[in-house]
């Protein structure tokens, strides 16, 4: 079951194409990463899902139904550009935003209070927002995205500007809510933060989707049978040139402990077990690790350029 389906969505501003025929399926109970460099079209897609801007072509399906204005109540949103009314009191600010999401009355107030207690801001209920530290305001913004028990939460660059303590707090809350049935979409240009948290990802570049799927499968698909060997000893140059097992040697260096560190790209049909006896003849092995490509590496290999270029 998918919480959200984006079907062939296109959007342009004037002659500038921002999204070109994008399709995504976001499975329930997962943390979904929407990856891509700045300017790829991620925020535009998010705004379309949130009904903030309209799409030119395609459609959005939410919980099996064509997206409607009132469905946004079931969505939580932490925008990339985020702020609060500085002069409002914390409590009334939260109650106001909850009301706009359709959550009113004493139950709403209790819920908000519970969240503020959990995040350690409850004592600030009657203080003005501007009196809060940056970190506390960030926590408030995160609570705003989740306080109305949405089915689906969109977090746009959630960790930029967050201090490390809050990042961990938020990450663990995201996992907790995911385990309770909430689906998350995490949009970011920092691939490594998605790497850790996401179950599935898609990559967008210059208005086009370049990749999507389950994170583990993607990384396995893109793994190139590269192993890193750390050992104490010496391979003779003859051995190094030996290419019965490997295609190439990617790196060969001495690490900070004086150990040799060498990366072999094995031939496609070679398993690491096959080559171990050979390595053992030449020295003491400390570790052997498969080098699985990071999302960043995969992105670079796909679009043939670096993410920030």
């Amino acid at each position: 079951m998918n919480v959200l389906e984006v079907k062939s969505v296109s959007k342009s501003y004037g002659s500038h194409l921002v999204l070109n025929d994008i399709s995504l399926e976001i499975p329930k109970n997962k943390i979904y990463g929407l990856l891509g460099p700045n300017g790829a079209g991620k925020t535009t897609l998010i705004r379309i899902i949130n009904q903030i801007i309209s799409l030119d072509k395609g459609e959005i399906i939410f919980n099996g139904q064509k997206m409607r204005r009132d469905f946004v109540e079931r969505i939580g949103y932490l925008p990339e550009e985020r702020g609060l009314y500085a002069k409002m009191k914390v409590g009334e600010h939260m109650i106001y935003l909850a009301a706009l999401k359709g959550m009113t009355g004493a139950a709403a107030k209790d819920k908000i209070k519970a969240y503020l207690k959990e995040f350690d801001i409850y004592n600030w209920w009657n203080k003005k927002v501007e009196q809060l530290s940056k970190g506390m305001q960030q926590k408030l913004q995160f609570i705003i995205a989740i306080m109305h028990d949405p089915d689906f939460v969109i977090l746009d660059e959630p960790f930029t500007g967050f201090d490390p303590v809050n990042v961990e707090l938020v990450k663990s809350k995201i996992r907790e809510l995911r385990d309770q049935g909430t689906t998350f979409m995490l949009s970011t240009h920092r691939m490594e933060s998605a790497e850790e948290l996401c179950d599935s990802v898609s990559m967008i570049d210059q208005a086009n989707k370049v990749l999507d799927g389950n994170k583990r499968e993607i990384r396995e698909n893109y793994s190139q049978n590269i192993f890193e060997l750390i050992y104490d000893g010496n391979f003779s140059n003859d051995i190094i040139r030996e290419n019965q097992y490997w295609k190439s040697i990617e790196t060969n260096e001495v690490d900070e402990w004086g150990k040799s560190k060498i990366r072999f790209k094995l031939l496609e049909n070679v398993h690491v077990n096959d080559v171990m006896p050979l390595w053992m003849e030449y020295g003491q092995i400390y570790s052997v690790n498969e080098i699985i490509p990071s999302m960043n590496d995969i992105f670079i290999s796909l679009v043939n350029r670096k993410i920030d270029e």
């Binding site: 204005r69 009132d70 985020r82 409002m88």
Partner: protein, 430 residues
């Protein structure tokens, strides 16, 4: 499903109410709102109090005037008044009196030389420092009257005959209209016009810029994206415009109530013995009472709301479009020019309320809120009012629609410098 749909409309209305409520309550709770609300009536009370005080307390003591008369014409002629007392001194006492005067306040010496009543004479008045200025005028008048009487006698004329030459003129000025003739109230109309026109100008400016600042603030501190993920941008914009309008109306009604209250208390003041000031005020107030106040007040509300919607929507669109304050000034200027033209033209319009310029400016929607309200006390033909209001409504619907288009795009856009071409393009975005 059908149930869901109905409840969604209801929910949307509720959210709109929450927005209006927030926009209203945050402003009404501000100290500055109450300060301004009470300051104006206090100024009004102060003004009334001051004029009453002035009429009771002229601000100077009784003036002492000593006369030295060499002509002999003015023996026992000068009569003491409320604020002036005369005394006579011997000839040749000038130096002695002048020496005494140095130490005195409100002391005057008039020296009347011998003179020929047929040729102009120069009289010498010496006054101690810090004395009242009206004395010279009063003396001039009294001297002239006496000399005139003397000339009449000399010419062998009868004083009564001369008196008959002085016509006593009073004009009973009335205005003739379809409803018959009525008492002229031009002075009162002009006063009410000026106040009403200026109030509309002030209201549109003050509350228009409140809308502008509110939108600018939301854009600058980036709360807006969270809000528009719950309600439509247009609803947020209209919620703000309506919320601020309600603040304005609240303030207006409080002013009306307070001013009526203060006036009522002021009316009770004759007990304190201020008949003097009252007499002039009474005829003015009875003139005001002949104005059509229900019409003026209801038109005031119509033109305030119309003008406010027109200008605040345009100012709001600008605030949504631009990023920084200095760009805002640049876009604001062309919008506020018609308002400024209207307030400048208002004085001329009040002097000639039925001139073609006045009629046209009261029909063109960008100036009509000020100019029409200034014309209303002078009995504007109903068809002109109808056309003017219809055009105003059509125009503000149009400007609100345009503003909604610009707002929707601009509010989420940061970092780029906006041109009129951009604004034009945004109106056609889907």
């Amino acid at each position: 499903m059908i149930f869901l749909f109905h409840s969604s409309i209801e929910k949307s209305m509720n959210k709109f109410k929450y927005i209006i409520n927030r926009e209203y309550s945050i402003r009404v709770r501000k100290r500055t709102f109450w300060i301004l609300t009470f300051l104006l009536p206090v100024l009004y009370a102060g003004l009334i109090g001051f004029s009453v005080y002035m009429s009771m307390n002229p601000g100077y003591e009784k003036q002492q005037v000593t006369i030295i008369d060499y002509s002999g014409l003015f023996d026992n002629y000068f009569q003491d008044g409320d604020d002036i007392k005369f005394s006579y001194a011997e000839s040749g006492a000038e130096d002695q009196i002048l020496e005494l005067m140095k130490e005195q306040k409100d002391f005057h010496l008039l020296v009347i030389p011998e003179f020929d009543i047929n040729s102009p004479a120069t009289f010498k008045l010496s006054s101690s420092k810090n004395s009242a200025n009206f004395v010279e005028g009063k003396l001039k008048h009294d001297l002239a009257t006496r000399i005139k009487d003397e000339r009449i006698v000399k010419l062998g004329l009868e004083k009564e005959v001369i008196m008959q030459l002085d016509p006593n003129i009073s004009i009973n000025h009335e205005k003739v209209g379809p409803a018959g003739s009525e008492r002229d109230n031009t002075d009162q109309s002009m006063a009410v016009s000026t106040i009403a026109g200026f109030l509309i100008y002030m209201f549109v400016f003050i509350y228009g810029s409140l809308v502008m600042r509110g939108i600018h603030e939301e854009k600058q501190n980036r709360i807006v994206e969270i809000i528009v993920s719950s309600v439509k941008p247009f609803e947020l914009m209209m919620g703000k415009i309506i919320g601020v309008a309600l603040v304005g109306l609240t303030q207006f009604f409080l002013w009306v109530l307070l001013i009526i209250g203060i006036t009522f208390i002021g009316m009770k003041l004759p007990d304190l013995g201020v008949q003097n000031a009252q007499a002039g005020m009474d005829s003015f107030i009875s003139g005001i009472a002949t104005l059509n106040f229900p019409l003026i007040l209801s038109m005031f509300l119509v033109y305030f709301i119309g003008g406010y919607l027109l200008y605040s929507s345009l100012l709001g669109a600008i605030a949504a479009a631009v990023d920084n304050q200095s760009d805002m000034q640049q876009f604001m200027l062309p919008i506020t020019i018609p308002l400024i033209i209207a307030i400048v033209a208002m004085q001329a319009v009040i002097r000639a309320p039925h001139s073609p310029v006045a009629v046209w400016m009261s029909i063109i929607p960008f100036t009509s809120p000020i100019i029409m309200i200034a014309r209303i006390p002078f009995q504007v033909p109903p068809y002109q009012i109808v056309i003017s209001i219809a055009l105003l409504i059509a125009t503000f619907i149009f400007t609100v629609w345009i503003a909604g288009k610009i707002y929707r795009v601009g509010i989420l856009l940061h970092g780029s410098k906006i041109t009129y071409k951009d604004l034009w393009k945004w109106m056609f975005y889907k």
